[in-house]
């Protein structure tokens, strides 16, 4: 039974506590500061918030006293010499046939700490942070110091080792629209999955590159996007350039992975070796941002569908959650307790979470909904929250 719900919102961190069978919000923390992700480390109860200061740069904030006090941590930094190849959005006069010019390099600085991941129970102090512009950071001292994972940063698909010199290969990673807030178009890591069976086996998902896997603790990374599609590109099945919105796995069956993609819902039952599209557009299950996987049954997952992608809001003014129990062969829609008229909510990629039979999601309209029966009925926990960026049970 979850005891806490942590929200990252545009105006700070909001924590709901389970008290006497109900859920009660505390006064907002980090008041006025955008918080793009807030989460509790299940190994030691430390709370983490990723602050998205508009002026002062992204910072992690850590609380070791259950949210009573927070300590800002500024040590997630790209090392001197960290560079990447700039990729611009195509302009109307873009000529795909034109010869490619010399790559343009940019010095890297953290623009957003988009997600925080935790190592296994046998790795105390091991943390991961996924960032825009596309670097994965690792800490082994509970966040006091962080190191850039260089094999991923120096991946051949990003141009190779730019610490050492000029690019030795083409940059195949695109940017994420989520970076446009910074006036840039840079890639971002928003999903980090640590295999519960093997802490050296991880997946990360990158917008807009795809899914990558390491089986050697991050010393080498392989693309794992086969079967994913990007319908908006000339070659929808190209190996690189995908925009997975969020990727998660079933903890009890970690070879079962789920992905809400820009171009559909995708499912893999073979450890991301092959993805298959399991959308059902006629049922409204196609576009969206978050996905949640059941703890034990790899075939069961939930999505919060939205009207694709030019509108990005609830379909026909009615908010619903869809669940599959059979690996995406069929989907059931659940609307009980959710608004069915004049609802324009969108739930962002970290805005849905699961804990046992409980699910919870928050929208950018500031609404928060909780289900205690595997998504079949919902109760509203708040209508006047700031825009919600992340929801995580603690």
């Amino acid at each position: 039974m979850p005891e806490m719900i942590l929200l990252g919102t545009r105006k700070g961190t909001v924590i709901f506590d389970r008290i006497d069978g109900g859920w009660r919000p505390r006064p907002i923390m980090h008041a006025g500061v955008p918080v793009c992700y807030a989460v509790r480390d299940p190994r030691n109860d430390t709370l983490w918030a990723s602050l998205d200061h508009g002026h002062w740069g992204p910072k992690l904030s850590r609380s070791r006293d259950d949210g009573a006090t927070w300590q800002d941590i500024a040590s997630v930094k790209y090392p001197v010499g960290a560079r990447y190849i700039v990729k611009y959005l195509p302009t109307p006069d873009f000529d795909p046939e034109a010869p490619t010019g010399q790559p343009e390099y940019a010095d890297a600085s953290v623009l957003k700490i988009w997600t925080i991941g935790f190592g296994s129970d046998n790795q105390p102090g091991r943390l991961y942070a996924g960032t825009i512009p596309g670097g994965l950071f690792v800490s082994d001292d509970d966040g006091d110091s962080w190191q850039l994972n260089r094999p991923l940063w120096n991946h051949d698909t990003r141009g190779g080792d730019l610490f050492a010199g000029d690019a030795t290969s083409e940059n195949l990673w695109g940017g994420t629209p989520a970076s446009i807030d910074y006036g840039l178009f840079e890639p971002g890591i928003h999903s980090i999955i640590v295999d519960p069976r093997d802490p050296d086996h991880l997946y990360v998902a990158v917008s807009s590159a795809g899914v990558l896997e390491t089986t050697d603790g991050g010393q080498s990374w392989q693309g794992r996007s086969r079967g994913m599609l990007m319908d908006y590109m000339p070659d929808p099945a190209a190996e690189w350039g995908h925009d997975p919105h969020f990727v998660t796995c079933c903890p009890g069956q970690p070879d079962h992975l789920w992905q809400q993609n820009h171009c559909g819902v995708f499912y893999s039952d073979d450890g991301a070796r092959n993805w298959r599209k399991v959308s059902m557009p006629d049922s409204g299950v196609h576009f969206g941002f978050p996905v949640a996987a059941d703890a034990n049954d790899g075939r069961t997952a939930w999505v919060v569908p939205a009207r694709a992608d030019s509108e990005r809001m609830a379909i026909d003014g009615g908010l619903f959650v869809a669940r599959t129990n059979d690996g995406g062969q069929s989907w059931q829609s659940f609307r009980q307790g959710l608004p069915q008229q004049n609802a324009y909510d969108i739930v962002l990629r970290h805005g849905l979470d699961i804990s046992g039979d409980h699910l919870c999601f928050g929208s950018t309209t500031g609404n928060l909904y909780l289900s205690e029966d595997r998504g079949e009925s919902w109760q509203c926990l708040g209508n006047n929250l700031p825009p919600v960026y992340s929801v995580r049970f603690g």
Binding site: H55, W56, G57, A74, D107, A108, Y182, G183
Partner: protein, 92 residues
């Protein structure tokens, strides 16, 4: 000596800078920010990005002139001068 005036928004993160006059020897902007960072550890991380450049929406002026070198912060603050640190606020 020079005087450093900072936006009150930074007092929230560095309360030790509140209600006091911040002084530093004349020198480059980089040297003066280092001096403030010694009083308030971590201060530079709020103004400068990972590569030591002034953050996008942060401005520094020497007296009434905005600094030109936002990358290496080499502009000099003369003896008796004041370095102002402020930010562009926007949005809702």
């Amino acid at each position: 000596m020079t005087t450093v005036e900072i936006t009150p928004h930074l007092y929230r993160y560095f309360p030790q800078l509140k209600n006091r006059t911040i002084r530093a020897p004349a020198g480059s902007v980089a040297q003066i920010l280092r001096a403030v960072d010694e009083i308030a550890p971590g201060f530079k991380d709020y103004l400068l990005d990972d590569q030591g450049r002034l953050r996008r929406h942060v401005h520094i002026s020497i007296n009434d002139t905005l600094v030109v070198d936002r990358k290496t912060l080499s502009d000099r603050v003369p003896d008796g001068g004041t370095l102002y640190i402020f930010q562009a606020l926007s949005g809702g």
